[in-house]
Structures are given as structure tokens and as C-alpha cells.
Symmetry: D2
Subunit: 124 residues, 4 copies
Amino acid sequence: MALPTITAQGNLVFEPDFQVTASGISRCKLRIACNERKRAENGTWSDGDTSYFDVVVWRELAEAAADTFKKGQPILVVGKVRVSKYEDKNGVERTSVEIIGEEVAAVVKASKAKETTPESDPWL
Amino acid sequence: MALPTITAQGNLVFEPDFQVTASGISRCKLRIACNERKRAENGTWSDGDTSYFDVVVWRELAEAAADTFKKGQPILVVGKVRVSKYEDKNGVERTSVEIIGEEVAAVVKASKAKETTPESDPWL
Amino acid sequence: MALPTITAQGNLVFEPDFQVTASGISRCKLRIACNERKRAENGTWSDGDTSYFDVVVWRELAEAAADTFKKGQPILVVGKVRVSKYEDKNGVERTSVEIIGEEVAAVVKASKAKETTPESDPWL
Amino acid sequence: MALPTITAQGNLVFEPDFQVTASGISRCKLRIACNERKRAENGTWSDGDTSYFDVVVWRELAEAAADTFKKGQPILVVGKVRVSKYEDKNGVERTSVEIIGEEVAAVVKASKAKETTPESDPWL
């Protein structure tokens, strides 16, 4: 009964926010926008609402994320999800959702038309 | 860039809340409590905070959940996560997190000491 | 770069095979059949081939699985996947795939028509 | 009861193998090596065996993978797992395991020491 595991793909909403904590640990905050895709009974896809997720990564992973990622870029995140209740400065209870990223990666994009390689099959 | 996929195990906080929507579709709401487990450098485990997740399941799955689950029971959920912003009745912006359950299952528990079966290996 | 994480739902192909190892540890082997579901461009679903997975669970989880599961029952498994190469008795190299189950649960089924509960919303 | 979902991180064993099928569809085959990490009771980590997985991606994703990935590179894959039985040319039954990649991404690495950004918190 640990925290849930999540796999999320989304676009970075702002530049990676890298900081070193008071105890000297690297931390990077990322926010991603994930667009819901809905499929109708007839197979047609349409866009739903956008969900935003705050991701925090630590140590070497924080440094790697800060070095590599740019605002707007699609990334893939695997981690745990934590939901917290807290009181804001007006005493109103609020909910925060945070992904603790265990793996982060840059989603790849095709850059040009591809040429095929010879028909040998490396799996056999 | 669909909604993130989540796998969560937690205890049901209240009895399954089953309803039929105005358009005649079965829906069941579940809330689960997931306890964070933290492991120290020396390998020791300790409890962290509890995260609560709201789960909604639809149609046959809603009926099955309502038939089967009881308050307090540990369940396993696989689904999508949606985060929404909304204004409450005082005009304060709030965040809601919801898991749309695609698979729900009852976590099993050992009920008694086990006797071993013969040593034949069904995998071979 | 740990072993991959897998979430699988399938029907048990045989009764749970429970044993106690020579070192006194409970172990239960399960085999599940997972049917591929294919969706055509027009939204129609059809069945594809069946994939079989061997699952092994240990200790209390092994006892719980052996106590609870029956042949034919649909279960939900979360765990790690390991692929091994080995030589069979004829010296032919073979591949084995194994899921080390970290969470196992019984998929729920609706047993009867449901009556709705009052319209109060426990989430609010 | 669809095919299982898998999330795998591993190093590419060979260069991406890109081809266009007879029906004109782009396909890219990837093989990744995933090292098991074992944790002893005292918290110490050690390496276990390596599991190899064959990944196939299709269409735009195939082109993107072929454009971007290099042998040896760590990648993150999310997809479905299919296990097939087949007879080899000697009539021996064999097992093949394949991941149908739905999302593939390049794992990031830190390239240099990081400087911290100012202490403003973009989440608040």
C-alpha cells in the first residue's frame, strides 16, 4: 500500500526550475500539461480538457532534467503520486498533487523522411 | 499525450457510492487511502503521510464494485488520472484529482496456514 | 534501469500452485491468459491472440493467492518482468518470461442489478 | 483483459532497425537491456541478471525512434507486451516476447554541474 505509480506524458509548461535545497540537495520542479483524448463509439478522437501535473525530481535526475529540458517540450515521466491537503494563507483547505519523478525522458520526434535499412532482421 | 496512467492500491475510506445518472448510466464512486512507505538508507521502512484518491468507475464495473467492495477493504485500481481546477461557492479556485478506474480488483489476504502441494512444476 | 514494471489482467489457466521452498519460504505460481483486443479504425473491437504469462508470488502474498484464487478466475497483477535465456535438456536455447508479482487482486464481477443510493455526494 | 501494460527503461543493444513494410508502413525494431537491481534487507543494492526485451514501434513513432536513438543509449518505453509461441525451423516450440511501444523517450543525463536559479517558486 505504497503511493500509486504513474506514467505521464505531457508538454513542459515552463522552463525547468532547478534549485539546491538548504541541505545541499539538487531539486528540479517541472510542470506538464496532459491533454485528454476521447474516443467516440464510431472511433473518432477528440480533445478533452487539459490536466496539469507538478513533477519534482531530485539529485542527479534533477541536474539532468535542468540540463536537457526546455519549455514546451514533450516529456515522459514515471514516478509516484502524492496528494496533500494544506491550508492556504486565508485558512482555506486546499489540495495539492505532486508526482515524485523516478524516471524522466525526452519524447522523440521524427525530423525527416526515413530511408529503409537492409532487410536483415536483427531479432533472428 | 493522453491522460496519465495510474496503478494504485489503497483501503476504501467509505462504502462504495453507487448511483445511476440522469441518462441511465451506472456510476460508482470510491475513495482510497494510500499510505506512503519510506525506506531509509539503512533499509528500514517507515510510514509517511496518507494520500487520498477519488476513483470513479462506470457501467458494469460500477455495478461490480458496488456489489463486492466494503468500507475498509484494500483494493487495486488501474486507470487514468484527471486534475481539474474549479471555483467553489466562495469563488476560491480549487483542485480536484480523480482516477477514472478502468480495472478494479480486491486485494487478496491469507486466511490460514498453507499446506504445500506436491513438487510437480506446472510450468515445465 | 531496474526490471520493467507490468500491469496485467488475465484469467487463471490452472489452480494456484503453492509450495514451500527448501529454505522454508512460501511461493505460489500462477499462469494467466491475456487476450489481445484490437480496435479497427472504425471503432470496432475484435479479439487477437492470447498471451500467456507465468507469475510467481512469495511469502504472505503466496499464501493469500493460494487461499483465494481459483482456476478460470480473472485476476489483476502488478509486478516486475524478467526474461531469461536457458538451455533445455536437448541443448536448445529457450526464452522464459516471468512476472514477479508485487500485488495480486481478484477482479470484481457484477452479481445482480443494482439499486441506486440517495443522491448525496460523499466527495463534497 | 487486454494485453498487459509495461514500462521499461533500458539501454539500446543495437542501432534502431528501421524498415518500411510491404504495405508501406514504417516500423522500427529496438532491443533494450534491463539490469535487475536487488536490494538486501540491510538496504544495500546489487546487480542481478540482465533481461532483454524486443520493442517494435510503428509509423511516426518508428521514424522518430530511428532518427533519434543510438546504440547504447538509455531509453524509456511504455507499451503493451505480447508473448507468442512458435515453431522454429527444427520444429522446436519457442517463446517470443515483444513490447509494442506506444511511447518512447530518451532518458536524460546530467552533462555538467548545475547553478541554482533564484529562489522564486513557480508552483506558488
